[in-house]
Symmetry: C2
């Protein structure tokens, strides 16, 4: 029996070859530019997929929670940056991890640094989180006096090593062109580099770390930064395609969805595959249409991008409504499987909790193995 | 140690008393109107919370997937409607369930009915899914010839019992006033009732089933329908509050989130609690502000609704950004816990996978116990 015939309900498919190509391309790019490559593992959250980075020589990774750090530490990763502001309520877990691995944390508050210093039983590295314009977290890069005072506080703590400055230029996700992304990347890098120069004599080891997938995919000038931390590129998705970070062919995951109804009068296919599988993230297509995913045709060994864009135009908890062009609509039968390229692969992977490649091999996700901890 | 002191990371809190009040109110309303009450369990997806309905005398339930039907059948529920179009790829599971319990399915396609008839080894009930204006799934209520032909096909199948007509008037979620919701409910009920009358002589047992929480919460005229299937009311959420289905005080779940950063210049609090906890569902507040959740103050025994609305204005994977009014901003410290009333409690519960009440008692969710089945 062919693998697809075994699929009965929404199932996240992984194209291993596309994923490996994405990994190899970014690994090579980092090497070409002499950059430290510390990929963010929050997109795949999978030991199995993580091992493909290991095989490329990657030894340093980024995660977005201490739970995720623990999961990857247990899988053998020894050098992990948690790119999220220190959560003081998890000091026990910070100490547990710091006893086992090289752990880096993010700080942006004087009092947090003091509490961290008092509570640490083992040494950690600390990056100061800098805001270069995204305005989510971090100290605005212009507030040099405030940054000075954080550095002073950091170096006062016996078990904290000052690692440098880290930013996430997430405003690239609001960009409307490749030029705008390149401009954000350049401006952000210049500001961080100036900041580094201010402290470099005193701390010759510090580095500057940047991270968003649009910049890392599109830019070719990384002369002002030391480390990159992209994550989403491992799979890419419809949002990255819209931003110009990838082609539709580069997207390495697709949700296999059973077709459960057809509505000829609206040219709509109803899929078993909704918000609990894909997430409610959407983009607007060039024609203005709201899009929660793009339909692809599944084959025994992968999927075929269609000539016309057939978007999911609405999602409820379990239903996805696809607007299908004539050809696709006519040949699709109830009971068939269609693929959906997700709008935001991080959220889809987080919901689905596991992956299958086309040989039926299973890859686990942190969520499938998470123990409950209040 | 107080229960809240044990919480280290985003945790879904359940106010048992509010939840019981919501359950009792809807149960009493159904009884008052002489309605069959078949609550939808897709919101809580929890055996423990399901048992509170059982204690109220409820014996018939609705679910949105066959997996969910299996979970609740294993918990002892014997009469389950799967309010989702028949997924032909899960015929084995349909037969497995139909052997054990009274199972009702939804049909809207002639060929699906034929395949179902050929494949069934045990008897099932079938509702014809009717579209009264939501345009997600179902046969448009005006297409009487098409409905006639589906009924003819249904009664030809030896193991299928024709149960009646079912609709989900989900367009109430787009309504802008209580009057608009009442109008949708009335129109929808009238159309279904006319349809029922067309077949009643021939099939005196058939019923009409309606289901959305806004209609069931707000309407007081149910004379034209037989069964109600609301689900979200068990918890309610910010979306239902905005629609007028509930008060903020009725909302029975809140996500406890550690505060990890403060930005005085923007009056913003950064919470550990993002799209992987709350989902990316949002509403617009009356002032036009995008809202991914509303902040409440946690106490040892529940939470306090604040006088001013303090919304989450942005979410990324793990971060939530709250815009906090002066008082709340000033007294909140990094390391504190804040509560967040979710915009869409079904999706938040689905992501969080379990609940804790204020005694620390744990309630499981289907997702936490789901076995992997390709």
């Amino acid at each position: 029996m062919a693998f697809l015939d075994l699929i009965k309900k929404p199932t996240l498919l992984l194209d291993q070859q596309k994923c490996l190509t994405n990994i190899n391309r970014m690994t090579a790019k980092a090497a070409r530019h002499g950059l430290l490559f510390r990929p963010h593992f929050k997109t795949h959250q999978s030991r199995g997929i993580g091992s493909w980075f290991w095989e490329q020589g990657v030894r340093q990774i980024t995660v977005s929670s201490l739970q995720m750090a623990k999961y990857f530490a247990e899988a053998g990763w020894q050098d992990i940056t948690v790119a999220f502001p220190v959560n003081l309520r998890e000091m026990d877990l910070i100490n547990e991890l710091a006893a086992q691995i090289t752990l880096n944390v993010l700080v942006e508050d004087r009092e947090v640094i003091q509490i961290l210093g008092r509570s640490l039983k083992h040494s950690v590295g600390a990056f100061i989180k800098i805001d270069t314009g995204y305005h989510r977290t971090g100290i605005p890069v212009e507030q040099v006096a405030e940054i000075d005072s954080l550095v002073d506080e950091l170096i006062n703590q016996e078990r904290v090593r000052f690692k440098g400055f880290l930013t996430h230029a997430g405003h690239t996700y609001q960009a409307h062109s490749r030029e705008e992304i390149l401009n954000i990347h350049r401006t952000s890098s210049e500001k961080l580099n100036l900041l580094k120069k201010r402290y470099l004599n005193q701390f010759p080891e510090i580095i500057v770390s940047v991270g968003d997938t649009p910049s890392c995919s599109i830019a070719e000038d990384f002369s002002l930064v030391d480390e990159i931390r992209p994550g989403n590129f491992v799979f890419y998705d419809v949002m990255q395609w819209k931003l110009g970070s990838c082609t539709l062919e580069d997207i390495a995951v697709a949700l296999a969805c059973p077709v459960v109804a057809k509505h000829p009068e609206r040219k709509e296919l109803v899929l078993y595959g909704g918000a609990v599988h894909l997430s409610k993230e959407f983009v607007h297509l060039p024609n203005g249409q709201k899009c929660y995913g793009l339909i692809v045709e599944l084959t025994d060994h992968g999927w075929q991008i269609l000539a016309e864009l057939n978007p999911l135009i609405a999602l409820s908890q379990e239903h996805g409504i696809a607007r299908a062009e004539g050809d696709l609509f006519n040949k699709t039968k109830i009971g068939d499987l269609l693929g959906v390229l997700p709008v935001h692969s991080c959220l889809t992977a987080n919901l689905m909790q596991d992956y299958f490649d086309f040989s039926g091999k299973f890859y686990d996700h942190l969520n499938a193995s998470l123990s409950r901890i209040v």
